[in-house]
Symmetry: C2
Subunit: 430 residues, 2 copies
């Protein structure tokens, strides 16, 4: 995390930002403006609008379980199309651009097709093209496997990770993520009308927010940014003005702003709950279950286990998973054979979370959350906490009420917090 | 041109043969049947149906003159999609398939983007995959440039060339070209209802036929096949049964069939004529004109120049070009500055040709062509001949009449020629 960054800017444009010819030209103008402003520019592009969905549909017309290597060969074409078209637009604006596939850009991954992990970034070709005064466009979401030289993809939202990984490898001054929203908000503006755009958020806060429902940035890209000290700027493709800067707590500290107790309220309605009734309350049982789930690629979010009552030492275990993983989860449990007396599923559950680095130094936040929800007669079914987050699983129907109540109770609206001239120094740890 | 070919078959499927999910599955079944019949199979696929046209349209929405390198990056995605989908279908049929891009398949080209020439085929990776008992699917129409490692494309119809080049490199027993027609016909069946499917044609005949309007095989692929002794079998994706074998005259000779005078009547309505009036009848003038046209990438077909009359030594020069090249041709002529007194263009002209290796040993064919057209009062405007072809430029309106008349006059209908037990040995030279 050196202070002296290069003059390279990485800009990433999501699917809605390259959806049609006008959007592509708009992205091209932004890229050219950055170049003309003196930066060397690497732009990472996603597939256009619904392209990836359409390709998936084509695959499912052919096969119910498409081969994953071939799926990657198929899906990787979408980003290449965006890049080639954007390069054409930039040429017409009088600048030299060159589009590169993930492979050509040196994004080296493991061989886990459809969810590959970046293991190396060999950015020599990008550097060479930048030195030739070119704008470099890189197809997001994809790489090349180190062992078999096959095309791989990084999973949904992987273009964010491509952008951050390139920013890290090139020591870019900033990684700008352009989407159809103008930044990260204190709550979903569709639910809370006076939600505030955050001027800054720490990596840790952003990680918790991404994990608990905020959709602006892909979780993995934030982790990568934190690990490599990449400054992220979430901005809108469609308006000017600053968005939200995602940086280290240290950098936020230097800005000398007051740290709020709570930064944002996030929510999710995309999870399901699995409850195993009557499992043996013995060492090793939970380990067996969650190892099997991890092996099946299921990310488990909240877990609770009640204490056994009586002498039979049988307990109930509940956990939540992303709804798309529910079938895999129940299949995996069934595959363990009679580990519990019964399995119940709750396909649609709600979750509301509050996130804020300031919670570390302000005890009592959890109590206030429970009190606020209790006042609204919103029943908390499960709770999960971290030093900077409190999540409550609640009825999906009550999510909007809970988000509004918490946003109001913690005074997150437009001008309540992070004043320009703070009275006190920030209370952060780093 | 060794006699002992390998057990490898190269199969090429055109755009209509992979247009929808059902067509892709049908192609997959053919490929699997060939594998189960004991052949090792390499299949080359084109882009689905209208995919390439749609991608071109997307580019033109962005830029009036899209950068050619980026055009190649864009267009090369179509064939990759076809290959990935077909590989999925083959997996579902219980066979192992792997799709390769042109680059992965070792198709090395020069750097002439959008019309690259294959300069080497490094088929090691294909051989390796065949040895692993895989069916190899290769994205047609594309390669990788040797100097810059950029994606290149071979021009429209380039997938035929990809298939033939791979067949040559792998010493395949045959290169099967699957399209929506069942072979090469003695004339266009839409014009001549009793047109005959040819069981065989020589490379030389096929070259003349492709050059004079037959659309079954791309000209360049036939040249490549002749130069490398690749046997081509043109077949239908949609019916079984043999199509047309395109082989050397030597191989046809061994089949011991009677060589007809004329093999087929071809026609074209896609050409235009340029007439330069009042050019100096001096050495070097024509050279200057046609060198400039060649440099501009314009293929000139028929050329005639009349003798100057009188003392001013001014002549008229006419030539025909593909209609898509007409603007480039007239721009090029204009760029030469006052080389003629005037330029006339005739945007739509017709051309009818008769092709047959037997013409070499049967004089008088040309006379008969002129007589047949004369009887129908079809005016011949220009004539071009080769040892095995006679082409006449005529009014576009009279093309169907001319084709019918010639087909009938030379008795090319269903059972007139190439009997199974010929009386005489064939009269061929090779």
């Amino acid at each position: 995390m050196s202070e002296a960054k290069s003059d390279i800017v990485v800009m990433k444009f999501g699917g809605t930002s390259v959806a049609g010819p006008e959007e592509i030209k708009r992205a091209a103008r932004r890229i050219v403006a950055a170049r003309e402003g003196g930066s060397r520019v690497v732009a990472v592009l996603s597939a256009r609008g619904k392209t990836t969905d359409e390709l998936v549909e084509q695959a499912l017309e052919i096969s119910k379980r498409p081969d994953s290597r071939e799926m990657d060969m198929l899906l990787s074409t979408g980003e290449r199309i965006s890049c080639a078209l954007c390069a054409m637009a930039i040429h017409d604006m009088g600048h030299q651009a060159i589009s590169l596939t993930g492979s050509q850009a040196g994004i080296v991954t493991d061989s886990s097709h459809t969810r590959a992990k970046i293991i190396d970034v060999r950015a020599d070709r990008i550097s060479e093209k930048l030195d030739e005064d070119r704008i470099v466009l890189v197809a997001g979401f994809q790489g090349v496997s180190t062992d078999s030289l096959d095309v791989t993809t990084l999973g949904r939202g992987g273009s964010d990770t491509t952008a951050v990984a390139l920013a890290a490898a090139l020591d870019a001054s900033v990684c700008e993520i352009y989407t159809d929203v103008s930044g990260v908000f204190s709550a979903d503006p569709r639910i809370v009308s006076d939600a505030r755009k955050l001027s800054m958020a720490s990596y840790e806060e952003m990680l918790e927010m991404s994990a608990s429902g905020a959709k602006v940035l892909q979780l993995r890209s934030v982790e990568y940014a934190r690990n490599h000290g990449v400054r992220i700027h979430c901005r809108s493709s469609f308006e000017d003005g600053p968005g939200t800067l995602v940086v280290s707590e240290e950098e936020i500290g230097k800005e000398n702003v007051e740290q709020p107790f709570v930064t944002a309220v996030t929510h999710s309605e995309g999870e399901s709950r699995v409850t195993l009734t009557g499992i043996l309350d013995e060492p090793g049982v939970a380990g067996k279950i969650f190892t099997a789930l991890a092996d099946a690629g299921v990310n488990v979010d909240v877990i609770i286990q009640n204490e056994p009552v009586g002498d039979d030492a049988l307990a109930d275990l509940s956990f939540t998973v992303d709804r798309s993983d529910l079938t895999t989860a129940t299949d995996t449990i069934a595959g363990l054979g009679g580990i519990s007396q019964g399995v119940r599923t709750d396909e649609r559950i709600g979750k509301v979370s509050i996130v804020g680095a300031g919670m570390r130094s302000h005890p009592g936040v959890a109590a206030k959350v429970f009190e606020v929800l209790g006042e609204r007669e919103i029943n908390i079914e499960m709770i999960s906490t971290s030093p900077i987050k409190i999540s409550c699983v609640i009825s999906a129907d009550r999510v909007p009420d809970a988000v509004k109540a918490l946003h109001e109770a913690f005074e997150l609206e437009a001008d309540a917090i992070r004043p320009e001239a703070p009275a006190d120094p920030p209370t952060v740890t780093s």
